[in-house]
Amino acid sequence: MSLTRIYGLFLRHFYLITRSFPRILDLVYWPTIQITLWGFISNFFATHTTYYNNAVGVILTCAILYDFLFRTSIGFNMLFLEEIWSRNFTNLFIAPMKIGEILTSLVITALIRSLIGLVPAVLLTSPLFGISILELGIFLFFLFLSLYIFGITLGILVSSGLLRFGPSFENIAWSTMFLLAPFGCIYYPIETLPEVFQKIAYILPLVYIFEEARNILINQTVDIENIYNAFIWNALYFTLSIILFYYSFNAAKNRGTLINMGE
């Protein structure tokens, strides 16, 4: 692995973001709107239901966590799509970069993109709604890490699809998170889902992450098993996504997708 090459590809996206005020605004705008909206909904539920009345901000905290996941996944896809849209894809794949270097660079860049959007939104929650996500304590780090890994995993899976099927796979890139959101039990306990859906939910790391966030905020206790389960499923899906990416790269070399991508 070459740090210079990883930094080089990071620099390409860093230049792109920092050169454009609308891009920075776009990164900050949606998370802020999302969090503000959920902040008011959260306030309403906190004063009108017994389930949430001892844990103001449960919904808002979950909204912030979900937004981080969403931004990470979409951010990764955007970095990949950006190369296709700018017809730079071939230039990138004829540069002497290993697949691992490309992925590492995109993973780091996606994190920075997500944080640019998330930090201002999180800072807003305290003065606006009197809520701090830091109430989750040290476990907040593990929840964020778990969401980050799953977001990147989804990004790699979608990028594999783009490599394998070409730009026509772009629409899938935008819809993945919406497909998984109902099974993630982001805003409701898993018991809310029908039994069949619960079985699907249990094989996703999301349900353990959001169940644990609610558990910490509502019951003021920590269930390490939830965090452990989330990491186990994440490790499995992440490994599968890497294997699939390599497979798709080789398939693209057989089918000629890499040379036709920008045309």
Binding site: Y15, T90, L92, A95, P96, K253, N254, G256, L258
Partner: protein
């Protein structure tokens, strides 16, 4: 002279369709070889295989004596490519783009290299311009600078002067001639501009339907086929039914 590109009986099939049907050729050091053929003859597929973007169905490719299949990264370090069908990120400045690619190719003394190329290619005054806002002639020279950023020993050119006005086209051709002479690089040039091929190439490969149907020095081909120029040879071969096999 050393062969920098060695292509041995490569084939590329897409399902039942044979895009390239077992072609072989060499390109020596300090040599420009033309790759000619009508659209769909297999030129781009051949270049794609040389760049490692396409996996040959069979056959072998060696660049600087290294087998492409086993040494992809080492080979990509000494090779580069320019085509009007690929572009550099439009929103970045010219200097940012060159800086990014210099890092991807692990170029030492990046500033010096950019300075040298911008001087040679007359893009010094464009370094702080947004790449997407340049004219096609300026973009072409910037793409050429990117293609030379790693001091490649092998350069693959796909229509390098397409859509350029005669003055810029001539500048690029003169530059390529001088650069090849100075650095002793190997160049494979795919082009539909026959006067360009006649001027630059020591030898040409004529492709049609995935096969090399004829090859030789431009003047020899003109004499052999009893035509006035290479364009007429091209038309004759393109319209023929492979009787030159």
């Amino acid at each position: 002279m050393k062969n920098l590109i060695e292509v041995k009986n490569i084939k590329k099939n897409y399902g039942k369709k044979e895009a390239v049907k077992g072609i072989s050729f060499n390109v020596q050091e300090n040599e420009i070889i033309g790759l000619l053929g009508p659209n769909g003859s297999g030129k781009t597929t051949t270049i794609g295989m040389l760049l490692g973007l396409l996996k040959p169905t069979s056959g072998q490719i060696f660049i600087d004596n290294l087998k492409l299949e086993n040494h992809r990264i080492e080979i990509l370090e000494i090779i580069n490519f320019i085509s009007p069908y690929i572009e550099l990120p439009k929103k970045l400045t010219v200097k940012q783009n060159l800086n990014v690619y210099a890092k991807l190719y692990k170029v030492q003394n990046i500033e010096e290299r950019i300075e040298y190329l911008s001087e040679k290619l007359r893009i010094k005054e464009l370094l702080d311009s947004i790449t997407g806002e340049l004219s096609s002639g300026q973009k072409n020279r910037v793409s050429l600078a990117k293609a030379l950023i790693n001091e490649p020993r092998v350069l693959l050119l796909d229509e390098p002067t397409a859509s350029l006005d005669p003055e810029v086209g001539d500048f690029v051709r003169t530059f390529l001639e001088e650069y090849k002479k100075e650095k002793k690089i190997s160049v494979l040039l795919a082009s539909h501009n026959m006067s360009e091929v006649t001027r630059l190439c020591k030898s040409v490969l004529m492709m049609k339907n995935g096969e090399i149907i004829d090859q030789g020095k431009p003047d020899d081909l003109i004499t052999k086929h009893g035509r006035k120029n290479l364009e007429e040879v091209f038309l004759k071969l393109s319209r023929s039914k492979n009787e030159f096999n």
